[in-house]
């Protein structure tokens, strides 16, 4: 969609408030006229007709009261527009977040989150001034000069003509100057998002950069990228300010012409002082809304540039997950999971599964092993419904996954992803995310079974210790235990999908967790992905995956004897 059209569409919500603003602005213009008239009246009377001040109290009182009225009207108008636009912004952010989330876990993994945050926070904030300031100012620029002109003409048609002829020139110039600025502004915003992503990326890897001795080098690079950003910004501002300059210049020249014309006609007694002063007081007010519009021009440019990125996010193709009849409840109890000739490729073209078929029995442990890049993690993503097979089917007991209500299905699942995300909050918060409202006893159990209690004992505030992104300096093994505890807290889960459950753990800890898995497997379907074969050896069924298909499957003991890929994996590990 065209950016301007998009902004206009978003502005639709402001229609009501803007009408209100238009009314207030019109009233304000009338007050301005009244003030100018009264002031001219008082001055003329006092200075030229030598009327004593005591007889001028009526217009003076009027002036005294009109001043607060004017302040009130403009405050009211500003507030109306601002409140409405803040609401638009909140709404917009919400919609874009929904949109980003609609990309799904797979789609989001391919996006730079630093870039997305820049759009959601800074992008939306950049659009706000357009609604809060620019649009109301457009209204004012359309109304105020017309109202004033209606009163200027009867008083002095010559000045009226000067003003009315010069006024339309201003927007024309603004548009001419503005077009090139808009292009520059878009370039600038692109650089801004790039820079944001670069900083985020750098922050995430500072330790690695220090180890490589590259940290200060990167800082230098960011310096020069920041310098580029400054140059682009100045390019935008130079033009934006130029349009303001042109405006100011025109306004100034016109006012000067009006003043000179009035001055000479006063000198030649062709005009009353009161009319002359009245018009001269109104002349700056005539241009004032147009000048303010020029000063806000960059708000429009920023909004247009930011809107481009927001539109791009909005139009980002969302993977359509066709849930045919997605209302089926998942089967009660532990279901068998069946992959039937499943083909799947990622959006970027990487082929992950090519005719993959296997069955994970209800109750008992099924372990998937095989070289990385063989499609192991993809299997879990399909079971979780993050994506759908290009062909073939994933069945939960008898039902096709695409017919199940995904939210209900997820309730049956305890999942450990390959790289667990640590959320902002304490250790307890992070555990409870997986099972809101879990009781203390349940938490204690999960913490003990996962071996997390060793970790918690070391933390300064125990379970209430706030976690950093990589977990308050928790080591890989400690984070792994947190992820396991999180999964264990989902006690109602009948299906465990664990990717690398014992990564980073020493033999003893891994064995303890294997015990937990074994006990759980009596009543649950457990599908593991393992790089270490220790877990494969305790499972009932092993599936060896390679090149997106099943190379071999069977009971671990039997596979160990067959001279197939599993045996080769065993040998590789033993080496």
């Amino acid at each position: 969609m065209d950016t301007t059209a998009w902004l206009r569409r978003e502005g639709q919500q402001l229609r009501g408030p803007l009408k209100h603003v238009a009314l207030l602005t019109t009233l304000n213009a009338l007050v301005i006229v009244a003030q100018a008239w009264l002031l001219a009246d008082v001055l003329t009377g006092a200075l030229f007709a030598h009327v004593p001040l005591s007889e001028l109290w009526q217009p003076c009182l009027g002036l005294l009261l009109l001043a607060p009225l004017r302040a009130l009207l403009s405050i009211r108008a500003r507030r109306t527009a601002f409140d409405a636009s803040v609401a638009v912004g909140t709404h917009l952010r919400r919609r874009l977040l929904d949109r980003a989330q609609a990309l799904g876990p797979l789609g989001l993994a391919a996006e730079a989150s630093g870039d997305l945050i820049t759009r959601l926070v800074d992008g939306v904030d950049a659009v706000l001034p357009y609604f809060a300031r620019y649009l109301p100012q457009v209204t004012a620029a359309a109304i105020v000069p017309l109202v004033l002109a209606a009163f200027i003409f009867p008083a002095d048609w010559v000045s009226g003509c000067v003003l009315i002829v010069s006024a339309p020139l201003i927007p024309v110039f603004m548009v001419l100057v503005g077009q090139s600025a808009e292009r520059a502004s878009q370039k600038r915003f692109r650089q801004l998002t790039r820079l944001g992503a670069a900083f985020m990326d750098t922050l995430g890897g500072l330790t690695t950069l220090r180890q490589l001795g590259a940290a200060y080098r990167i800082a230098d690079q960011l310096d020069s990228e920041g310098e580029d950003y400054r140059r682009l910004t100045m390019e935008v501002l130079r033009i934006a300010f130029l349009s303001a300059l042109v405006l100011e210049f025109f306004a100034m020249v016109s006012i000067a012409v009006v003043a000179v014309l009035i001055g000479f006609r006063l000198l030649w007694k062709e005009m009353l002082f009161q009319d002359g002063l009245f018009v001269l007081l109104l002349a700056p007010e005539f241009y004032s809304p147009l000048r303010a519009l020029g000063a806000l021009r960059h708000a429009r440019m920023d909004a247009l540039a930011a809107a481009d990125h927001l539109i791009a996010l909005e139009n980002h193709e969302v993977p359509h997950i066709t849930q045919k009849n997605a209302s089926l409840a998942p089967p009660r109890g532990a279901p068998a999971l069946t992959f039937d000739d499943v083909y799947f490729a990622y959006a970027d073209g990487r082929t992950a599964l090519t005719g993959c078929s296997f069955r994970a029995a209800s109750t008992g442990i099924t372990t998937i092993v095989g070289a990385s890049g063989g499609g192991k993690s993809t299997i879990l993503k399909l079971v979780l419904g993050f994506a759908q097979p290009a062909s073939g089917s994933v069945r939960i007991e008898g039902a096709d996954l695409s017919e199940l209500d995904l939210a209900q299905w997820h309730e049956c699942v305890a999942w450990i992803p390959q790289q667990p995300h640590i959320f902002e909050g304490t250790v307890r918060d992070n555990l409870l995310l997986a099972a809101p409202g879990a009781e203390d006893s349940a938490i204690r159990r999960a913490v003990a079974d996962s071996g997390l209690h060793y970790v918690v004992a070391r933390l300064p505030q125990g379970l209430e210790t706030p976690l950093g992104e990589h977990g308050f300096g928790l080591s890989g093994g400690e984070l792994q235990r947190l992820a396991v505890a999180r999964a264990l807290l989902r006690e109602q889960a009948t299906v465990w999908l664990w990717d690398e459950a014992t990564a980073h753990l020493d033999k003893e800890s891994a064995r303890a967790i294997a015990d937990v898995i074994q006990i759980a497997s009596r009543t649950r379907t457990i599908l593991l992905i393992a790089h270490r074969l220790a877990l494969a050896q305790i499972s009932q069924w092993v599936v060896v995956l390679g090149g997106g298909r099943v190379l071999e499957e069977g009971a671990p003991a039997a596979l160990a004897k067959a001279s197939g890929p599993y045996q080769r994996l065993l040998q590789a590990e033993a080496r």
Binding site: L206, L384, L433, A572
Partner: protein, 572 residues
């Protein structure tokens, strides 16, 4: 919370290189501001004089005021344009530098001090908080400077023309330029300061929503997480509305005061004019002069409503910047003897003052070229050994010696230059493959790079990449698989010509076959270097090392040849 004055002093000190530009911008602002006042005053005088000349028939020289009006008009428009360009340029320059200045201050804090901070919060400080600092100069220093100098001049002029009016101007200026801004500052302080924190928190929640989306989906937590975001966003919206209300009210006071001042001036002035004490021309001039003067004051109340937000942002920036690094650095590095000995002398290390010892009297030495594995349960102190050696964490007692010098006498960067590290968390960056490789050795030529790629067994991988070496690897290297990422890191270490190779669980998260393949690359990387390998599972890695050090509870429990260790663990 640090003091405001200290924060401001710190900010001002950092602005040293930009002060000339800033002063230039301020001077232009003053020219533009004063010209605007002058323009109005002369114009008022001019038409009043013309009108009086018209009624009295006294001839008048209208050339010089007309010329003055032209001059003021040009100065005003030109000055305004120049002012905006110069001030914005100065601000941009200073902010760009300030951002990387903060980044440079963060570098020594990684990983010891930064591991407990969220990247979204760091990002908010680097970005939004630093952006907010422009307010100090653009919205406070310049308008206040111009307003007070302008007011001073207007005061002198009015004192000469009509002393009573000078009092009126001072009164109005004090109210609108000082009392009202002080009120907006006070009234907005809480919301302004809170909004800075809330905006940062919003970024954090959004980051969790996006990066933790998969987990939230499965846990059914999206609705409640989004509700948290919505309520925080609503709170921010309410804060902003309240802030804008204060600003609008404060801003609205200025024109009101201006109009009332003119009325007051007329009340005073007309009586004097009638008494013959003043020419009406001067009264008209004074009226317009007063009106124009208030234009200078207009930005002040709104600016001060933002004051607390700016101060809070500055405090957040400087609090972070002033966090002392965990490890002190000497001014110069001692000369290191290569190939280096690595010695731990009764080292004790812990992460909190009252915490348990992560390393407890660890004492051992590694000869140049030694190949050792360090094994033990999580929390046994393996990672702490590496942290101390890389000078990321300080030792509390004892010391680590490298190349004949205690680490206290070596700068961390000089020290780490001699170490190549493959860590659990080695990150790749959202740059091209080539750029990622060059991070390790900026001056490597194509031949060396190709050789490293070959040894790391990445040739196939590079060939399959759509743009070869110039393929972007994605955020945190997200577009390559775990095994590929690890091999790229190995290629980096091969490029880095360092005598000590540190391997922190190099094959974790990789399947047995891939891990086995990696070994070949690792063996190449290990050739001729000291190797320190931290691992949970020695099985596949045994052929990389000759010796095993067993850690337990922060202590060195045992040290033995790898064959002995394998035999014993086989028996267990």
């Amino acid at each position: 919370m640090r003091e405001t004055t200290k924060t401001l002093r710190q900010f001002w000190a950092l602005m040293r290189p930009y002060r000339a530009r800033m002063a230039g911008g301020a001077a232009l602002a003053l020219v533009a501001g004063l010209s605007a006042v002058g323009l109005m005053a002369v114009a008022g005088w001019f038409i009043a004089a013309m009108a009086l000349a018209g009624t009295t028939g006294v001839p008048i020289n209208y050339f010089s005021p007309a010329a003055a009006i032209r001059a003021f008009a040009i100065l005003r428009t030109g000055g305004r344009y120049g002012e905006r360009l110069v001030t914005h340029d100065a601000t941009m320059r200073s902010l760009v530098r300030l951002r990387t200045w903060l980044l440079r201050r963060l570098i020594p804090l990684a990983p010891a001090q930064l591991s407990s901070m969220r990247s979204a919060d760091l990002m908010a400080r680097l970005r939004a908080d630093i952006d907010a600092l422009e307010h100090f100069y653009l919205a406070v220093m310049i308008p206040f400077g111009v307003a007070f100098i302008g007011l001073g001049l207007v005061f002198l002029i009015s004192l000469a023309v009509l002393p009573l009016s000078a009092c009126l101007i001072v009164l109005g200026a004090v109210v609108t330029g000082i009392v009202v801004p002080a009120w907006t500052r006070w009234r907005a302080a809480e919301d302004a300061s809170q909004s800075v924190y809330d905006a940062a928190a919003l970024r954090g929640l959004l980051l969790d929503a996006l990066r933790g989306h998969a987990e939230l989906t499965v846990w059914g937590g999206i609705t409640s997480h989004n509700a948290r975001i919505a309520s925080l966003d609503a709170r921010l919206a309410a804060q902003r509305m309240r802030l804008d209300r204060v600003q609008a009210l404060g801003g609205g006071m200025v024109p009101l005061a201006a109009q009332w001042s003119v009325l007051g001036l007329l009340g005073l002035g007309l009586a004097i004019v009638h008494a013959g004490g003043l020419s009406p021309i001067w009264l008209v001039m004074l009226s317009l002069l007063v009106l124009a003067t208030y234009e200078l004051i207009t930005p002040l109340p709104e600016a001060l409503a933002q004051w607390q937000a700016t101060v809070t942002a500055a405090q957040r920036v400087f609090d972070l910047a002033d966090t002392p690094p965990a490890v002190l650095e000497p001014a110069d590095s001692a000369t290191l003897l290569m190939p280096p000995w690595v010695r731990y002398h009764n080292v004790r290390l812990r992460y909190r003052e009252d915490g348990p010892w992560a390393l407890d009297c660890v004492d051992f030495a590694l000869a140049p070229g030694a190949h050792v594995a360090i094994v033990g349960a999580p929390g046994a102190g393996k990672s702490s050994l590496l942290g101390a050696l890389q000078k990321f964490f300080p030792t509390e007692e004892g010391f680590v010696e490298f190349g004949g010098a205690p680490l206290a006498m070596v700068r961390g960067d000089d020290l780490r230059q001699h170490m190549a590290v493959i860590a659990q968390y080695s990150t790749l960056f959202n740059r091209s493959l080539l750029d990622n490789l060059l991070l390790a050795a900026p001056d490597a030529d194509a031949g060396r790079i190709h050789k490293a790629i070959q040894l790391a067994q990445l040739e196939e991988f590079v060939r399959a990449l759509p743009q070869g070496y110039h393929t972007i690897l994605g955020e945190a290297g997200g577009l390559v698989s775990g095994g590929e990422a690890r091999r790229i890191v190995i290629a980096q270490t091969l490029l880095k010509d360092a005598p000590v190779l540190i391997l922190d669980e190099p094959t974790e998260g990789l399947d047995a076959q891939t891990a086995d393949d990696l070994l070949v690359a690792l063996e190449t990387a290990a050739r001729g270097r000291t190797v320190i390998l931290v691992t949970h599972r020695l099985a596949g890695l045994a052929r990389l090392v000759d010796e095993v050090i067993v850690m337990e509870g922060g202590r060195l429990r045992d040290r033995m040849p790898v064959s002995v260790y394998m035999e014993r663990s086989g028996q267990i």
